[in-house]
């Protein structure tokens, strides 16, 4: 009888224990990393000082090492590139071609007649031109905006090219925080670049 009781106790305990373990695993499995939000990531950057922005640059260098360890060499990494100065169209093309970047979009800056700065974002043309001259010309005409240059870029680069990209002197920082190896980013949102911040903290090179 005692032995039967013991057996029953052990059986019930095992069932309860198994249920608890199963439930905990299920909770753990369902616990997902929050979706990547570019504004949340941007808000975490200390933009109040040069030091804060230099720290951000260093953090990005560490993340590049992380992503390089996680990705296969031929895999493409999602990057937001902030240039170190206003780039001309030729300089932009050189940066893209020499680093084998696949461009998703480029961001540029203009200035309107009243002195107000404009920001624009463009995707490449269907035939692969990085700068859509029709769209840019349209804005320049209608808003009388004078283009100052290109400031940021969103795109993809092979993992084995990413360190070379980050060392390009025309680039301030390469942000990989939105890449799938580091973030839960189902809508593939690109990180927000920091050109406005580095410009207003005198960190651009020219």
């Amino acid at each position: 009888m005692n032995s039967k009781k013991t057996m029953r106790f052990l059986l019930i305990s095992s069932v309860v224990l198994a249920t608890v373990i199963a439930a905990s695993s299920s909770i753990y499995a369902n616990k997902q990393e929050p979706k990547y939000d570019p504004l949340v990531a941007f808000d975490k950057i200390d933009k109040s000082s040069k030091d804060g922005l230099l720290k951000f640059k260093k953090q990005n260098e560490e993340k590049i090492k992380d992503v390089k360890n996680l990705a296969k060499s031929e895999e493409e990494i999602m990057v937001t590139v902030t240039f170190s100065k206003y780039l001309s169209e030729d300089e932009l093309k050189k940066v893209v071609n020499s680093n084998q970047l696949r461009v998703h979009h480029i961001i540029g800056r203009g200035v309107e007649p009243d002195g107000k700065e404009s920001t624009f974002v463009m995707e490449p043309t269907k035939d692969g031109q990085i700068v859509n001259k029709d769209v840019l010309g349209d804005w320049e005409t209608r808003f009388q905006s004078k283009t100052k240059g290109f400031i940021e870029l969103g795109g993809y680069v092979r993992a084995d090219q990413i360190e070379k990209l980050s060392k390009d002197t025309k680039i301030y920082s390469v942000d990989v925080s939105a890449d799938q190896h580091l973030a839960n980013n189902p809508k593939k949102k690109f990180a927000h670049g920091v050109f406005w911040e580095i410009e207003h903290k005198d960190l651009i090179t020219e």
């Binding site: 929050p34 979706k35 939000d37 570019p38 504004l39 949340v40 941007f42 808000d43 975490k44 998703h104 979009h105 480029i106 309107e112 009243d114 107000k116 700065e117 404009s118 920001t119 624009f120 974002v121 463009m122 995707e123 859509n132 769209v135 804005w139 808003f143 189902p186 809508k187 949102k189 927000h192 406005w196 911040e197 207003h200």
Partner: protein, 208 residues
């Protein structure tokens, strides 16, 4: 030799004539149309731009590609500018001003091309989305710009945002809303959520 030259000249003439014909047809078929301005001069939420104007330019190129470019221009009051400066500094999380140009119907087949967007808001951050959540219908129906540097905002001056929609040939009647939003960090979902919003102007397109 003479026959070859004659044939060559004929071919060249035909090519030249065809090019001219296509050129004339292209010029003839490219067209643009400005939709009349619709403005606003009061708001329910004092923090939003107190006045503004909207318009839209529709263009058809020589290949019959149609583009609709809705735009907003708007002014903040000095209290409003101060509000957005205040909520962007100090202890995180912060709040941001966003101007949104989107279709009311998320199942529209107008398509916002990311990245043909233009704004004079300081520290402009652009985004587009394909609603309804989670997977949308394959057409980006929402475009927005967020001012991520409100410390540079100036009161009583015009700021501008222009979006860029591809008009698909079978576009059904569509309404485009010009909306102000204030977004705050939502700690539960770790993302920015729109807390207050106000649509300044709604404009209908393709109702015929």
């Amino acid at each position: 030799m003479k026959t070859y030259s004659k044939v060559r000249n004929t071919v060249l003439s035909v090519l030249l004539f065809t090019s001219l014909l296509f050129g004339i047809a292209s010029i003839a078929s490219a067209a643009s149309y400005w939709y009349p301005s619709i403005g606003w001069s009061s708001v329910q939420h004092w923090e939003f731009p107190h006045s503004g104007n909207t318009s839209a330019l529709e263009e058809t190129d020589s290949f019959s590609n149609r583009t609709l470019k809705p735009m907003s221009s708007f002014k903040f009051s000095s209290q409003s500018v101060q509000y957005y400066k205040d909520i962007a500094v100090g202890t995180q999380p912060h709040g941001w001003y966003t101007h949104d140009i989107s279709t009311t119907e998320s199942n529209t087949n107008l398509n916002t091309n990311l990245y043909n967007l233009y704004s004079t808001l300081p520290g402009a951050y652009f985004d587009i989305d394909d609603d309804p959540e989670p997977n949308g219908n394959g057409y980006n129906d929402e475009s927005e710009v967020t001012c991520t540097s409100p410390s540079s905002l100036v009161a009583e001056t015009d700021y501008r945002f222009e979006s860029y929609f591809t008009v698909n040939s079978n576009s059904s009647p569509t309404t485009i809303d010009h909306t102000s939003q204030t977004s705050w960090y939502d700690p539960i979902n770790s993302e920015y959520q729109t807390i207050t919003y106000e649509t300044h102007v709604s404009r209908s397109f393709y109702t015929n």
